[in-house]
C-alpha cells in the first residue's frame, strides 16, 4: 500500500470534517448523559471534606453531628421543625478519551480508508465534546509507545488535535491491550473512552483490552469501522494469494462460491461476536460503514446506540 495515499486520504477527511457546513451539522449533537462519578468511593478523594460539593442537588438527609452547617436546610427546619442537610452531586470533568488503532490492518483494504474514517470520526467527536465543555484527549494505540495528545479543554485547541491526527499512517501490528494499558497509566480522570479499531486480533485479546477500560470506570464505546471491500469479497479473483499486512503471512485460497460464502460468514460472525460481547458488558458498539461517511456515523449510528443525542 503506498503510504502517501493513506496520508492524503486522511488529511482530506480531516479537511472535510473541519469545514463550517459540516461542523454546523454537529452543533445540535451532544453526548448522552454519562454515568455519575460522584459517589464512586475513592474515585476522586478530597481531603477533609465530608461530602461532595457542587451545584446539583442530589438529596436530603437527616442532620448528623459533624455535618457542615452551611448545608442545613433552614427552610425545612422552619416549616417542618426537622433538621436536614442538603447533599449534592459532585461536578467533575468527564473527559472524552479517543483511542485510535493505527495498525497496518486499519489501512487495508486501501479503498475502505478505515484509518482516515476513524481519524475524521475522532476529530468530529472531539468537536462535539469541546463544544459542550468536555475535555478531550486522543491517543494512538501502540505497543508501549506514548503517542498521546495533550488534554484539550477549549475549542480553540481543536487544531492541535487535527495536527496530532494528520500524520498518522497505518503501520505495524495491532497492540490494543498494550496500548490501552499504556494510556491508562497516563491518566487518572475517567470518562468516556471511545476505541476506534478494527479489532482484528484474537477475540480474547480484544475483550481483555476493553475490560481494562471498564475496570477503571470508563464508559466504553467500541467502534469498528468496516468498508465494502472488507465486507464483500466477491470482486476478488478466484485464485488468491492472501498476505496479512500486519504479519506478512501468506495463505493461498480458492475464492469460489464456497469460499465467498465462508468469508462472508466469518465477517458476520466476527461482528456479531463483538456486538454480543459488548452488549453483555454495557459497552456501546457499532460497526459504521466507511463508505457511508463520517456524517452518517455521527447522525445515525452513534445516536442509535445511545452515545450521542
Amino acid at each position: 500500500m503506498p503510504p502517501n495515499a493513506s496520508i492524503a486520504d486522511l488529511r482530506a477527511t480531516l479537511r472535510r470534517v473541519s469545514e463550517p457546513p459540516f461542523l454546523r451539522g454537529l452543533d445540535r449533537l451532544r453526548f448522552a448523559a454519562q454515568r455519575s462519578v460522584s459517589h464512586r468511593p475513592g474515585a476522586t478523594p478530597v481531603a477533609r471534606v465530608t461530602q461532595a460539593s457542587g451545584l446539583e442537588l442530589a438529596a436530603h438527609k437527616p442532620y448528623a453531628p459533624g455535618d457542615d452547617l452551611r448545608y442545613v436546610d433552614w427552610n425545612a427546619l422552619a416549616r417542618l421543625d426537622q433538621r436536614v442537610v442538603r447533599t449534592f452531586r459532585a461536578e467533575r470533568e468527564a473527559p472524552l478519551h479517543l483511542l485510535l488503532d493505527a495498525s497496518a490492518s486499519m489501512g487495508s483494504p486501501l479503498a475502505d480508508g478505515k484509518l482516515a474514517f476513524a481519524a475524521g470520526l475522532a476529530a468530529s467527536l472531539a468537536y462535539i465534546a469541546l463544544r459542550r465543555g468536555s475535555p478531550v484527549r486522543a491517543a494512538v494505540l501502540a505497543n508501549a509507545s506514548r503517542n498521546i495528545s495533550p488534554m484539550l479543554r477549549h475549542m480553540q485547541r481543536l487544531p492541535e488535535l487535527h495536527a496530532f491526527l494528520a500524520p498518522l499512517t497505518p503501520a505495524g501490528p495491532t497492540h490494543l491491550a498494550e496500548g490501552i494499558e499504556a494510556y491508562l497509566r497516563t491518566t487518572q480522570l475517567p470518562g468516556t473512552a471511545i476505541v476506534l479499531s478494527d479489532f482484528l486480533l484474537e477475540a480474547r485479546a480484544a475483550e481483555g483490552a476493553l475490560d481494562q477500560l471498564r475496570g477503571r470506570g470508563y464508559d466504553v464505546v467500541a467502534l469498528r469501522p468496516i468498508g465494502p471491500g472488507e465486507r464483500d469479497a466477491s470482486t476478488l479473483p478466484r485464485r488468491l494469494q492472501l498476505r496479512d499486512v500486519e504479519t506478512g503471512t501468506i495463505r493461498d485460497v480458492e475464492m469460489d462460491a464456497a469460499g465467498r460464502h465462508a468469508y462472508a460468514a466469518a465477517v458476520t460472525a466476527h461482528l456479531q461476536h463483538l456486538k454480543t460481547w459488548c452488549e453483555g458488558r454495557d459497552v456501546a458498539f457499532a460497526a459504521p460503514d466507511t463508505a457511508a461517511g463520517v456524517a452518517a456515523c455521527l447522525l445515525a449510528d452513534l445516536p442509535r446506540i445511545g452515545v450521542l443525542q
Binding site: 499486512v245 493461498d252 485460497v253
Partner: protein, 616 residues
Amino acid sequence: MMLRFANPEAWLFAALLAVLIVLHLRERTRRRVDVPSLLLWRALPATPTRAARLRPSWLLALQCLALLTLIASLADPRRDADPFGAAPTRTVFVLDTSASMQAQEGRESRFAQARRAVRDRIEALPSDAEVMLVTAGNQPAVEVSPTTDHAEALRRLAVLAPVDTAADLDAALSLANRAAERGDRATRIELHTDMPSERLAAPWRGAVSVFPVGETDDNVSIADVQVFQGRFDDPAAAHAFVAVRNFARREAHGVLTLRLDDAIIGRQGFTLAPRSVGGFPIRPLPGPGVLRASLEVEDALAVDNLGYALIRPQQPLRVLAVTDDVGLRADLQRIAGATPGLAVTVIASDAYRDAADADVVLFHRVAPPLPTDAAALYLAPSDARGPFPPLGQAHEVPVVDWLPEHPILHGIKPDFPFRIADARILAAPAWADSVLLSRTDTQDIPLVLAGTAQGWRRAVVAFDPVAEGLLRTERVDILVLLLNLLDWLAPAADDARVVSTGSIEVIDGLADLPRRILDPHGGERHQDATDPPVVDTPFVGAYRVEANGSAIRLYAALHDSEESDIGRSAAVPRLADAVPAALAPPTLARAGVGGALATLAAALLIAEWFFARRQA
C-alpha cells in the same frame, strides 16, 4: 470412405489452442491480495500453490474440444461416399437467370449474389473436380459442359446475365440431371435461385442442393395493358385499361406514364395499398399507334415496369357475297350498315367470275372452286361437285367439341348454346382444322372448318346461318361467329405485335429472304432464308425484324405475376446428399459434415458454460 477438407486453411485457427492454454495458465496463477488480517480467512481451506504447470481441467478440455470441433466445421470435412473411392467429383451448377433475379437486394442484384456464390463454390473445389454450368432462363442452356478447366468456367460465368422471362427450372434441372446420370463421377447438383424451394417440383426436392437468394418484396409492376377495340372499330372508339399491381407488403407510390408512339399522352400519380391492384382506364385515345405504359417507381425490380398495347387504325374489309338467297342479301346489308368499315357487295351465283378486289369471297349454298385471289368463306355448301361435297345431312346436332383458343370462337366462349337444326355432313380437307364439331355415334360432323390453302385462308360452315336465324336475337352467337370468320379470313395487316417475353413469334409476313433482327439491347443477328422464321423475345422492349425493306416490330413485356411477386422469406441453403448418379439418379453423392460439427461445437460450449457455472 475418405475424409477430405473443403477449406483446409481453416486449421490455421488451431493456433488459438495455444492462446486458450496460455489464458488458462494465466488464469491459474494466483493474484496476491493484501488483507487486513488472515483471521477472517481461516474458514477457507488453504490450497497451496503449485507450479503453473498444466493440470487436468474438465473445463479446459471442453474448451479445447469445442474449439477443435468449430475449426473442423470451418474446414468443412467431406465424406466421399461414392464407390469410386477418392475419385474426382462433378458439380453441376444450375443458375437461375429469370427476370426476378434482377431484383436489387441492397447494392447488388440477386443474380450478382447468386453468381458470386457459384464463383466461390467453383473456386473452393479441388482442381480435379469437374464443373458444369446450366442457366435456367425461359430456355435452359448448358453454358459450360463438364470440365476441370475452372478458369474457363469462371470466365463464362462472369459474362452471364439474366433475361426478362420466367425460368424453366424443371427443364434446366433435367439437363443437369442428365450429367448426373453419367456414372463416371459422383455428381452434385446445386441450384442457385430465388424460387422458394417448396415451389420446386417434388422429384427435385432432396435431390438438389438449393442455395436460395433474395428476400425483398418491394416491387410494383404493370400487370396488364388491355385495349378494347373491335375489328372494325375506329381508334377513337377504342379504350384502354392499365392494371398496376403492388406486390410489396407496404404502401407504394409512383407515377404512371402513357405514351402513344413516343408522344406522352398522360401521366398519373398513384398510391397503392399493400398487395393490391390499381386500375387506370384510358379514354379517349388520340389515334392509332403503339401504346406504351411505364412506371416511375422506386422498387427493386425494374423489368416489369413496362407494358405495351396496340391501337389499330381502322381497316376496311371488303366482302363479295355470292348468293341467290334474298334473305341473306338483306341480312348482310343490315350487318354492313351497322358495322363501320365493313363493305359488302352481293352478286348472284351466276354472276361470279373472280374476287374483284374483295378481301373475302362469301359463297352461300354454292361451292365454286377455291378462289386464287382472295380468302373464301363457304356457307352451307351444297354442290356435290364443289370442293366440299356434302356426304349427307344431319338434324338437331349439338356442338360437342371445339378449339377454344381459335380466334374464330372469340367472344363465344364459354358455353355453347349451339344446337344446329340442319347441317351438312362434310369431309374435312387435309388443310383444315375442325374448329367446331358435332358427333354422332358413328362419325364426327365438322360444323366449322378453317385453314390455309393455296396461300389464302379458307373457312367452311356446314350449316346455313340464314336458316338458323342469323339476325335473331337469341342466336347472336351465329352473328358473332360470322363476323369472327370474316375477321380471321382477312386479318388486319399489322406490322407490329405485342408479345410476352419468352414467347417465340413466328414471323410469317415477311418475304423468304435473309432477315435482320434487332433486339431491345441493340443486339443484331441475321437469319438465313432457310432458317425457320421465328424470333425469340427474352428481353423487355421493342424488336425489329427486317427483310427486303419491310419490317415487323415486336413489343415484348413481362406480365408474369409469379416473377413479379419477388418477396421471399429468408432461407438457408438446403444441402442434398450426394450419391453416385449410377446408383440413385438423379441424386448426387457427397456429404458435408460441417453442419453437424458446428452443432456439436455449440453443444460443447453450452456444456462448458453449464459446468463452469456449476463450479462457480
